[in-house]
Amino acid sequence: MTRGLLHWIDTRLPVVSAARREFRDYPMPVNLNGFWNFGAILTLSLLLMLATGLTLALTYVPNAGLAFASIQTIERGVPAGWLIRLAHQTGATLFMGALYLHIFRGLYYGSYKAPRELVWLTGMALLACAMVTAFAGYVLPWGQMSHWGADVITGAMAGLPVVGPTLSHLVLGDTHLGDVFLHRLFVVHFATAFAIVGIVVVHVACVHVAAPNDPDGRDPRSPRETVPFHPYFTAKDLFGLALAGGVFTALAAFAPGIVREAANLAPANPLRTPNDIVPAWYFLPFYGLLQIVPSKTLGLFASLAAIVLPGLMPWLDRSPIRSARHRPGFRIGMILMAAGFVTLGLAGAHHLQGLWGIAGRIAALAYFGVFVAVPFARRHPS
């Protein structure tokens, strides 16, 4: 019966045979390691975000006077509303964490190199969309941190040369952060979230056309070096997903302080600046950069560069060897870059106080230094 129906559909629109070809029989390199689990984890997190997000939007009110109260209704009035919101907040952390690791995997094993440049560019576009979505989402509850975090970002944006005032007018739609701004960010939150779904489709198509990279960075030489996606990688992904589920549960239940901000439980008050404005953890490295660079505008440029530079890797890195496994110097560079990124975040969280000021500056140099050094790396190893 199902078989007949599937056949009927497939003869009219060959989606069933395409799905079999791309997700069941698809040849995968045998030697993929655990780093290759993050694609599946990201896909599932994205579905979780869409499901919980759409549910929250049924009650949320994008209005400066009502947003905070509508979140309280979700937390205290709607059955299991608090659980859905907690899953959405934890999902954001899981998604951004998995995305950073997924991107690091791509850098480390040279997954950006030809013929996978489009895989890489769609991935970086996805990161940019995810960051906009996360920022907009953080603003929606309209608590103190929402308001003052938005104040920092829109302030830096308004300071941009030439486009600043226009951009600021476009986003704020008013002289201050209020109703119009909040409503626009709500629309942005939705639009970019669904844009991510679209980008993921293109991203996966690019991966399947170019074939996946592997930890050795050399394409499988014969069919004997590949296995079909199902059951080999469905089983492996299931294991990865179970571990990710464990991390998700532990964060949500026992460390909610990481995925949500207590200070945001005070309603937005434009007259009262909080002592300490700290963004969500996944923005901390960029927040660190904003603090290190003395001018707001240059700080914003530095943050942009921190995302754009990895995006340019296919053209910065000219070595024919893909994987850091076979490039000792590059390996050190990648570890330096990752350590720099993490240290920048810690320095940002500590407002560059004490030794964090020095550590943050060294980390920034290390992070950007790697991208400057990469074009000079030896092209032809001995």
Partner: protein, 284 residues
């Protein structure tokens, strides 16, 4: 929703979310600004004047820390702390009684509806009875006159004052809403419990204006809130109740957390076994 005290001046960097802003003048307390002004003036004028001013300034600065900084609250063991944290209904109900009998006269608990009290173990009948003791505004009648009715379980717990201005008028300060106070106030539950029992006679040389009270856990030393909590036990109970108000789903969250971890550990074990079996098979 916002409860900005209408008469206060916002000074960036000196205020804390959820905390009433420090009043810069008129209380007899010395603010950072006044100390800085004293410092500046001490450096001007003739030599003897300067000497006298500097001496005064030194005295001010020396006296300042003990009096303006506020004591650090002692760390307490709370039932809700840590990964096994939970609330127990008896403490929550004790805390609610203190809130209802004492705090509710001045402070709002804006985010709570009467029916939410089921979360501290009150029965539906109890909740109906408690709600019915409150009278709330109910629109206007045909003649345009404001009407009232007794509250129902699905109503929000009403504010004790019609407006923050009215509260300030009556009390000399705006009592903050307590719905999330343990999570938004610097120092958290430790500070709240310490503050409630931290009213002591002022140190020598400090005069507390009428209608103000000295509390050793405040940075400014004085507050418009009177000492109203009788015992440390009551302070702990009401603080636990307020923590529940800020984070009401802790018990369920921890229960689900352990169940979820067990589930995913089991799933991971199964998936790992499955994966190993599949990868051992001869490849097609």
């Amino acid at each position: 929703m916002t409860r900005a005290p209408p008469s206060s001046v916002a000074i960036p960097g000196t205020t804390i979310p959820g905390m009433a802003p420090a009043r810069p003048t008129g209380n007899g307390d010395i603010t950072g600004f006044q100390r800085a002004t004293a410092l500046w003036q001490g450096l001007r004028g003739s030599a003897p004047e300067r000497g006298a001013r500097l001496a005064l300034m030194a005295a001010l600065l020396a006296a300042a820390p003990a009096f303006a900084a506020g004591a650090a609250p002692p760390h307490q063991a709370w039932s809700f702390a840590g990964p096994t944290g939970h609330y127990d209904p008896a403490t929550l109900q004790h805390g609610f009684r203190i809130y209802a009998d004492v705090c509710a006269g001045c402070h709002s608990l804006n985010e709570l509806h009467f029916e939410n009290l089921a979360g501290i173990g009150l029965s539906a009948a109890d909740i109906r009875r408690i709600a019915a003791t409150h009278t709330i505004p109910d629109g206007t009648d045909a003649a345009g006159q404001p009407k009232t009715r007794s509250a129902r379980p699905d109503d929000a717990i009403p504010d004790p004052f019609p407006s923050p201005a009215a509260a300030a008028q009556a009390l000399g300060g705006v009592p903050p809403d307590l719905s999330h106070i343990t999570m938004t106030h610097r120092g958290g539950p430790d500070w709240i419990a310490a503050f409630l029992t931290g009213f002591v006679p002022p140190p020598p040389g400090v005069t507390v204006p009428p209608g103000r009270f000295y509390n050793r856990f405040l940075r400014t030393g004085v507050t418009a809130m009177p000492p109203v909590v009788a015992s440390a036990d009551d302070a702990r109970a009401v603080t636990t109740f307020l923590q529940w108000s800020a984070d009401p789903h802790l018990n369920a969250r921890h229960r689900l957390g352990y169940a979820g971890l067990a589930y995913f550990a089991f799933l991971a074990a199964l998936a790992s076994a499955l994966k190993r079996r599949i990868w051992k098979q001869p490849r097609r």
